[in-house]
Amino acid sequence: MISKEYTILSAHGLHARPATVLIKLVKNYRSAVSLKKGDKEVRLNSLLNILSLTLKGGDVVTVLIDGEDEDVAAEAIDLFFTEQLKNL
């Protein structure tokens, strides 16, 4: 299991559009991925649940990745949070 913290690097936070991109990205991997903000944790397969975390710009979120391809998944997710999110 991989656990990593990210700061949300977009002004409007993890809103519907980037969350959709993230869900589609995660679907490419077998690992189970969840997001955790504070003590609230949701599976990264439901847009509604992600939106309900109301992740805003500057918020810190923990990503938990568990599964056989967790290393490659973590790499892709890393790119999403550090680079792609800024432009979404």
Binding site: I23, G57, N87
Partner: protein, 572 residues
């Protein structure tokens, strides 16, 4: 004529006939299921309705090849919502445990989600409840075999009037026929606003119940900037707006053409065009005008209109918003530039005979290190959220730079002790606006990562001219060889020491100076965002090779009048 005030969300004027969209709610009965077989068939019916709904959206995406990225993103989001595993889990639970039929269960689940979204303390999330309702009515429509509303009989130039428009309504409409949108509900973050903006359709939302006054075929004028909607206006009002509309269109077309073109000269040199801004809200205009980043973020606004100095957290919030909204583009933050001419009510600065030669900017900061360190810590904390750089104003000697850097190290040390993160290697630069600094650019270049030339102060200090003084304001002239040689020295020393040199004074936005500065070797121009397109036009139509010839000619001339005449001629 009736006038309605709404929220303008997409600028521009539209004049046209109204088409009023009236939607009927899908009705759902609350029949109860009795057998296990009925329950299974109800779940199956839900799954089929979901897959029909997804297929329908995918069909829209396939059939409309000219959809823009924004539209595709919205449709993909809708597919995600329709397929959301949480919605299915909740619907299935209601069907199985409470024996509700699929329509009833879905309505129940959606109502809960909508009420959660609407109660959130977040405008964006409240606006998302419209998306949830929209996908709900899609699935319900497919459960009930009801027809979705279709607007396909519009005449060109129609203005769509509706209480509310769902994302799929706006996207499935043929926008080529639509000249404007007016709705009763909605805000700047609704999908209608996003789509209207992406397609440059003038739009006014949030007009309220008064929209009931509009009938199909009424003549409507709407102003998407001011949010004003006029119903059945007089002839002279119409002609007045027609003139405005044409002016706006001409300007918007030109902007649009230039916006996505990179500022590259004919001979392939990329020139960076950034903007001078005062807060995060200004960034929107920067990107609309095709800016490459921020060459000067003034921080004075943060200190004005208040009763006391902003705390570190308050300042952090300001820089954070800028960093987050800058899309990863570079932002140069200038530390506070206050002084006798820009007083703060809570900071008692004694009146000075010569405020421009007085206690101001970095001089105050190096004296009141408590204030300086608070600002530096706040900027540093925001530096992990964007590509921020720090710039010190009013530098006249090397000791000031060294002292400022020392205080910056102290700020970093304090943040480390507080376990707060920051960009350890944040670039540091200085404003070159005092002649002494321009002359010793070779020495200063060894201390910093970049220079930014502030031509306004540099010009007035070099020529000893207060340009507010009408009697001598004609002497204020940046094209005097004395000023040009200083600027040239800064650019050449910057190149020699391999540090980046920008310009954030008024000269950067003067089209007459663009070629001369390009010929000198300046590659970074920062100006008010609205000046960017014009300067860009000059850059893309010229070459650095020609600019260099012009530069050598100008530097050999002895008076500003000759230089200005020559530059004007070169612009032709």
């Amino acid at each position: 004529m009736i006038t309605i005030q709404g929220i303008g969300v997409s600028a521009g004027i539209a004049i046209g006939r109204a088409f009023v969209v009236r939607k009927t709610e899908n009705t759902v009965n609350d029949s109860i299921l009795s057998t296990e077989a009925e329950i299974r068939s109800e779940i199956e019916r839900f799954d089929i309705a979901v897959s029909i709904s997804v297929t329908a959206i995918e069909a829209i995406m396939d059939q409309q090849p000219d959809l823009q990225d924004e539209d595709i993103a919205i449709l993909e989001t809708q597919i995600e919502l329709i397929n959301d595993p949480q919605i299915r889990t909740d619907v299935v639970a209601l069907i199985e445990q409470h024996k509700k039929n699929a329509g009833h269960a879905l309505t129940e689940v959606l109502r809960q989600i909508v009420s959660i979204f609407e109660s959130m303390d977040d405008e964006y999330m409240r606006a998302r409840s419209a998306d949830v309702k929209d996908i709900g009515s899609r699935i319900l429509a497919n459960l009930n075999h009801a027809e979705n509303i279709k607007i396909n009989t519009l005449l060109p130039g129609t203005i769509i009037v509706a209480h509310d428009l769902s994302p799929s309504d706006t996207i499935t409409m043929d926008v080529k026929l639509i000249s404007g949108f007016v709705t009763g509900t909605g805000s700047k973050t609704s999908h209608t606003a996003i789509i209207a903006k992406s397609k440059s359709i003038p739009t006014v939302l949030g007009c309220g119940e008064v929209l009931g006054n509009i009938q199909t075929d009424d003549l409507i004028i709407l102003d998407g900037l001011t949010g004003i909607v006029l119903i059945n206006p007089d002839e002279d009002v119409i002609s007045r707006y027609q003139i405005q509309m044409e002016g706006f269109k001409a300007k918007a077309d030109e902007l649009k053409q230039l916006k996505n073109i990179e500022a590259i000269t004919i001979d392939g040199v990329k020139i960076t065009l950034s903007a001078n801004i005062s807060n995060a809200a200004d960034l929107e205009v920067v990107f609309e005008n095709g800016g490459d980043g921020v060459g000067l973020l003034r921080t004075e606004m943060l200190f004005m209109d208040r009763d006391s100095f902003p705390t570190e957290d308050e300042q952090f919030e300001f820089y954070k918003q800028v960093a987050l909204q800058s899309k990863g583009k570079p932002v140069i933050v200038r530390t506070i530039d206050i002084g006798g001419d820009k007083p703060l009510p809570y900071f008692n600065l004694p009146a000075e005979l010569n405020p421009f030669l007085g206690y101001r900017a970095i001089r105050i900061c190096l004296d009141r290190t408590d204030l300086f360190i608070t600002q530096l810590k706040a900027i540093l904390r925001a530096s992990v959220l964007g590509d921020l750089k720090i710039m010190f104003p009013m530098i006249s000697n090397v000791d000031e730079v060294r002292k400022a850097k020392q205080i910056l190290s102290e700020a970093k040390k304090q943040l480390l002790a507080e376990d707060l993160s920051f960009n350890e290697h944040i670039p540091i630069g200085i404003m070159i606006e005092i002649p002494s600094a321009a002359i010793m650019a070779d020495i200063l270049a060894k201390e910093v990562d970049f220079f930014s030339i502030g031509t306004n102060d540099l010009c007035q200090y070099t020529l000893a001219v207060d340009r507010m003084n009408d009697k001598i304001s004609h002497l204020y002239d940046p094209y005097v060889p004395g000023v040009l040689r200083l600027i040239d020295n800064v650019v050449q020393q910057g190149k020699k020491h391999n540090i980046y040199v920008g310009m954030c004074g008024e000269m950067a936005s003067d089209p007459m100076a663009t070629l001369l500065l390009m010929g000198m070797g300046l590659t970074d121009f920062s100006m008010s965002a609205t000046s960017i397109p014009e300067i860009k036009k000059t850059i893309i139509n010229n070459s650095v090779a020609n600019a260099q010839i012009l530069y050598h000619e100008v530097m050999a001339m002895d008076s500003s009048s000759d230089i200005i005449a020559h530059l004007k001629q070169a612009m032709q």
